[in-house]
Symmetry: C2
Subunit: 334 residues, 2 copies
């Protein structure tokens, strides 16, 4: 029997049919790897679970191999000059307690007074970058315009609403899945209006929240939300389409939106994007947001699950909308 | 009994339920109006019938009032210095044999050697402008990219294919509704490939015509064509959505493309537009196309119906796809 620490990893072991379940995953342990020449060993401190991973489950993730995802960890041993013991690094080998990283695979994170390390998985990570790119590169929001964002209490949504306000949006409106989230949006995050999408027909709730319409819609949901948003958009409106969390568990292609031809009638632009194609904007994002994080004009809400054992629950809970802000997992060592 | 000439006009007299019929229209005659101070009388020579008019029939056109549309006519009497007797003018009071025009309502057309007057209703008119705007302003085609256009043998489609080639498209592919149209596209208009959309599943026909995909889709059809095009577009593809002739007669909203989420996966932009918002591009269009019309590198196919009595048939035939190129009506005097 060895008392040496073990590395725990997660495999996907079967494809979900609709909503995933804990049985689609397996925890696996192995000896903590020893860094060979040119690599470093990282103890992961924070792990990210994200909506896009639901899509990976349908094919991109191979079964029976360690899952990947964004993570922040501390270098505990290094055989490469690129990483030093003690460095805090952002890398992609998440869903495990320990990871080997090679040069080029990780970024040594700056330590900024007043900015929590976890922000680099949240509003300073792919989540915030999605929101920033949606507004500045895809929808190209102009000061004085109005914005609607769906899944507004989630990671991308909460970042979108706050960034839109900083960019000079005249009005920021969001939809969310509970009364508590709605209250959080208007009372804590500065949204001008918000509604629970369970409360009656979506188009009516949206029209009440945005009676004069809006110019930009950042879509994290798809389906009925996209249809309602097309209805509420003004002429020359733009939709930045990030994701479709309402559809990831669907076993049939969705039917909505029936009003798609309104894109012609109102000269609307519907543009999809993948944040991975916009990594070059990362520096601009940090320059823009870090001062606001330090002075508190922007917050980075996260729902943190404690302990690696909880990662599957954290992921499934995020898909069910149980998170407020970005969903992350904090390991015992953090 | 008077032998004075009569003005004949067309009214819409009822709303169509699905496909319009001749009974939805009525021909009406009145005395030819006399131009009062500040107006001029025009004898119309050429009238345009366009897909967008099918949409007007559902609501924009009031019942029992003279229909409007683009027309070219000759000024026969004028009580305004803006128009002189004999001027050839482009104006919006079509669907009638005679029209009164006020200053600002008409454009005195240039007479250009080698350019048929009718081109100002076709490739130099709203039809050609739609194609040019779709490619240069909406999809922003770059030299070396490939293009697919639906309803390619129609007015906008035939202009799109030819203009795309002039803009340096690597490959131009079109769909049309008959073998004769397909032959016309490849043999006369320089399309690299074309197919009859009746010949088997659209996605398969399109994949055969464009095996390496395409970067730009100019959509005049909507529905199944839009879905097939989303499937064939490459990453960063753009769709310029002009119209949806497949849907205008539909009594139910069409099913949205079931693969709409591919817009996210492939970072595709779907943008609707109305040519009326791009009239400022008209001068650029003429500067670009007139040399090509003169030297024959661009043609302006038109299906001409002779006689004002035929205007309703010309319109309905265009909706049924019986036209090759732009559908126009030539009055006896032309």
């Amino acid at each position: 029997m060895s008392l040496a620490p073990r590395n725990t990893l997660v495999h996907q072991v079967r494809r979900p049919n609709g909503r995933p379940t804990p049985q689609d995953f397996a925890f696996v342990t192995e000896a903590v790897p020893t860094p060979g020449p040119g690599t470093a060993l990282v103890e992961n401190l924070l792990l990210s679970v994200d909506p896009y991973m639901r899509e990976c489950m349908d094919g991109d993730w191979e079964l029976g191999v360690p899952l990947e995802g964004r993570s922040i960890g501390r270098v505990t041993a290094s055989a490469t000059p690129e990483y030093r013991e003690g460095d805090l690094v952002l890398h992609r080998h998440g869903w495990r307690t320990h990871a080997l990283i090679a040069p080029g695979e990780a970024r040594v994170l700056p330590q900024v007074d007043g900015v929590d390390l976890s922000a680099f998985l949240g509003i300073l990570g792919g989540t915030g970058l999605s929101a920033y790119v949606a507004l500045t590169r895809v929808a190209r929001l102009r000061a004085g315009e109005s914005v609607f964002v769906s899944a507004a209490a989630g990671g991308v949504g909460s970042a979108t609403g706050q960034i839109a306000r900083l960019l000079g949006a005249a009005r920021v409106v969001g939809s969310a899945g509970s009364a508590a989230k709605v209250a959080y949006l208007t009372e804590e995050l500065g949204f001008d209006a918000a509604f629970d999408y369970h409360d009656g027909p979506l188009a009516e709730s949206l029209a009440r929240a945005a009676p004069d319409g809006f110019d930009v819609y950042v879509d994290n949901v798809g389906g009925d939300h996209l249809e309602a948003a097309i209805g509420g958009l003004r002429e020359y409106g733009r939709i930045a389409w990030c994701g479709a969390i309402s559809q990831y568990n669907a076993t049939e292609p969705p039917a909505a939106p029936r009003n798609l031809f309104d894109l012609v009638e109102k000269s609307i632009r519907l543009e999809g994007f993948l944040v991975r194609n916009h990594r070059a904007v990362q520096g601009e994002l940090e320059e823009f947001l870090i001062p606001h994080l330090i002075n508190g004009t922007v917050v980075d809400p996260q729902t943190v699950t404690d302990g690696f054992d909880g990662i599957v629950d954290a992921f499934l809970g995020m898909l069910d909308g149980r998170n407020l802000g970005k969903a992350t997992v904090r390991l015992g060592l953090a």
